[in-house]
Symmetry: C2
Subunit: 506 residues, 2 copies
């Protein structure tokens, strides 16, 4: 997917000759160019690099985005385009789309960065006490010290208390919390533990289609087998157990399915799973002996009436000891989404339930090699799970800011669905949650042929055309997976309402 990425360095100009087979290599790979300079064949080439890395694809930052960056540059250089600005609706990057950070969070981060500010009377007392709490848990009272590899103790305790509140009192052991570098880090680490076996005994992992491409990328890199189960677009991207069963039964013919990944609320599809469905999935995982991975980074992003976020952990424990004592579950959360949208800090955590003790020791060892997740991200995670409380000076403003952001997102979710459904050839499910719409697209037969002639996926062709003509940067559905013969794109609901309206009318 990245073959469009053309890199230009003067130093390479003479080296383009290397690949010519007419040169005769000596033992050390040396050869002579026409002007008599000795050169060498490269050690690392596309043919001799890690083949699993080559299989990795990640559409969210693929060629469309690279072209968008070029277009922005061209605009800034004064080159005329049919649009005045590029609107990046390709990635769930709230701050880049103008969302403001939560004041309290940033005050505490500033205090932790430069503790001299603890003497500044303009900072509220609750921000100061939170900063002191975090700094006291840091080596040398500095965010510049490494933390424990599993994460700062007191932050993990705060995460555990947050989960207990969220899940109506179901207990949470801080020892089961691992702080991570964004949720991606946790997900890749868990998958890494699970992969083993060769040939028909190779680990298979079930992922939804459409999916968030971190999963397919990580599985490709780990050489695991990707098992696709399809969400039901007709039923608002819901998950059918019969489809899980079909996918699993087929996969058992050629691999060893060991894990089932769920994204709830859904990315890219925006659905929110019902409590019943979660129970069914857990029962399925128990029956079929699958390790459950619940990507719950959008847990605060629920907009549709009648929809509610239910954590897998809570449902699991409500199902009684037959399940809660046995089903292995990892749940992931992050500072990047919800109302905070702090992607750049790369904060996150995972909770592991019913993990074998020896495996857990291996997990702790594995994460220690990277020393620790970024401490500012850990501090931010602490604030997310332990925000201002009623009675504290920053509480009112915190609630105001959080509510404003979530209300705006809810409004934009509705607006997106409504407007998209007025466009001929586009059909959009309700955006119940998360930050994306994933409408289906009717592409005229002629355009499909034109795309195929150019060796492109029709929806990639469509999105590229959309970008060139309107400046709107979307991600083609093929980057997430879709049923054969259907076409989609993913669009975030994050642009400011006025821009979103322009974008939707385009």
């Amino acid at each position: 997917m990245f073959d469009t990425c053309v890199l230009k360095f003067s130093q390479y100009s003479s080296q383009s000759r290397y690949s010519s087979p007419s040169f005769c290599h000596s033992v050390d790979g040396t050869k002579m160019t026409e002007n008599g300079v000795a050169t060498r064949a490269k050690v690392l080439t596309i043919d001799t690099m890690n083949p699993t890395v080559k299989k990795v694809e990640y559409a969210v930052r693929g060629p469309i985005v690279q072209r968008a960056v070029e277009l922005e540059k061209e605009l800034s250089e004064g080159i005329k385009k049919p649009f005045a600005e590029v609107i990046k609706a390709n990635i769930g990057d709230a701050h880049a789309m103008g969302q403001q950070p939560i004041t309290f969070f940033r005050q505490v981060l500033a205090l932790c960065s430069y503790p001299e500010l603890l003497n500044d009377s303009t900072f509220p007392e609750d921000a100061k006490s939170r900063a002191r709490h975090i700094l006291q848990s840091c080596g040398g009272n500095s965010m510049g010290a490494y933390s424990a590899s599993q994460g700062i103790d007191s932050v993990r305790q705060d995460v555990a208390r947050y989960i207990e509140r969220r899940d109506g009192g179901v207990s949470c052991d801080p020892d089961n919390i691992y702080l991570t570098t964004g949720a991606s880090d946790g997900i890749v680490t868990m998958l890494k533990l699970l992969v083993c076996g060769q040939g028909s005994n190779r680990t298979g992992v079930m992922i939804s289609i459409p999916q968030y491409p971190l999963y397919s990328a990580a599985l490709a890199e780990l050489g695991a087998v990707q098992i696709n189960y399809y969400l039901n677009e007709e039923k608002c991207w819901s998950l059918d157990i019969s489809e899980l069963q079909r996918a699993l039964d087929e996969a058992r013919q050629h691999c060893n399915p060991r894990a089932l990944c769920i994204i709830n609320p859904g990315n890219p599809t925006g659905q929110v799973q019902s409590r019943q469905c979660i129970e069914d999935v857990i029962r399925f995982a128990a029956k079929e002996r699958l390790f459950l991975m619940a990507d719950e980074v959008y847990q605060d992003n629920v907009y549709a009436d009648g929809c509610q976020f239910h954590s897998f952990k809570k449902v699991l424990f409500e199902m009684g000891p037959e399940y809660s004592n046995t089903v292995e579950l990892a749940s992931f959360h992050s500072t990047s989404k919800c109302y905070m949208g702090e992607c750049g800090f790369r904060g996150g955590y995972m909770e592991i339930i019913n993990m074998d003790n020896e495996v857990k020791a291996q997990l702790t060892k594995l994460v220690s090699v990277r020393l620790c997740p970024p401490v500012p991200g850990q501090a931010l995670m602490d604030l997310v799970v332990n925000p201002p409380q009623p009675g504290e000076p920053s509480y009112a403003n915190f609630i105001k800011e959080r509510t404003a952001t979530l209300s705006a997102l809810a409004e934009k979710a509705k607006l997106t669905e409504q407007v998209l459904n007025t466009v001929p050839g586009i059909r959009c499910n309700p955006v119940q949650g998360a930050m994306y719409s994933f409408p289906s697209l009717t592409i005229p037969e002629k355009a499909v042929r034109e795309a195929r002639d150019k060796g492109q996926q029709p929806d990639m062709f469509y999105c590229m055309k959309m970008l060139e003509e309107t400046g709107i940067c979307l991600v083609p559905g093929s980057g997430f997976g879709q049923r054969d013969g259907t076409y989609h794109f993913r669009m975030t609901i994050l642009p400011p309402t006025d821009k979103l309206k322009i974008l939707l009318t385009k």
Copy 2:
């Protein structure tokens, strides 16, 4: 190495029965416990997890450190010990040992975290202008936005200019700079690209012994072949080309050596490589067609008279186009060491030289899957490569703080060597650079036998005894690798001088 890590959860108590082979599993792994509760065998066990992960070892945070944490807890609970505090000399964690951050860096980070402070007149103007420069390069002017996966453009430009200054004008293309999550991230990513082949064609990577165990851990996880070349302890841990040749020739019998890793200044051994030696290594890499990886995170940590840091990049380019146009090199740097010691921010960069264009596109794709390195770490990296300049208001204080830290480290390097060499049974090379001493240890035959009887490495046994008796936390040489029959430990020179004196006299 982590078998001493005993985890305690009540929820596991009943599950310990699972592993008993006397239980009869049904198809879905269900079985009945004595009290008739249906339970299931775990999906993920030590026998069914990723076998390459099991092979990973990382001594710097191994059982000794876990025991140190326990001892600290016991002390805090009032349990009597033969010492008043645990001194962690196991890891290069400067702030945890009391080193103060550079004021200017933290001021800018606070300003970037909470831009309201740009209106605060107590912050110096150069800090504000640096913060504005960074924020202007962030999406939505917020550190909460994702950056480009390769890192913020303007930071990469600043890194390139820093490298040009450092290397006396050798040109540096910002397109060759990748910002990373600490240097570890860059090193693992580069190794990942290099690994391919099976059996006797499997990629081999040459690493020094003693080494920093990130290398062995990453190679184990990637299933690559670790090729050991031994540093010459008698010659102050210098690197002999004849030893490189020996190790390479032997390795060629059973694998495909493709890369050579150098740590300069050395970790754990503290040597600083001469310019001549670097030239010899480059010539060797060219002759033998090896990809060079230069871990240069201690580039400012040079203390010994007559020693100087020479970057591989600079030496390579001084050797003329025969080398500078062909030898593939990746060099790594970080915010964690030198005079700043900002480990917790996980900032870093790598520069790649002469990398094949197609491979580079693959690298850019690969890093995009993790979205971006933490933005506060990128901001900090920017400050490190672009600190206050003469004439700016923060310059004098910056120089004062940097000089104080580096002078203190130089003093402690000397002190460590001198005092250790007065201890019978310990022999310590000069600490020319980096942050560690790696003295050899004569362990009495009786103690060696006692250790072996307990199934422990003798140096692990020694370090554990040292910890229990004195509270000093060291890392045994076996965690870094050493010649058979020799014993060492690694001790950081970071504790404050007064503590270091206590530590050394113990």
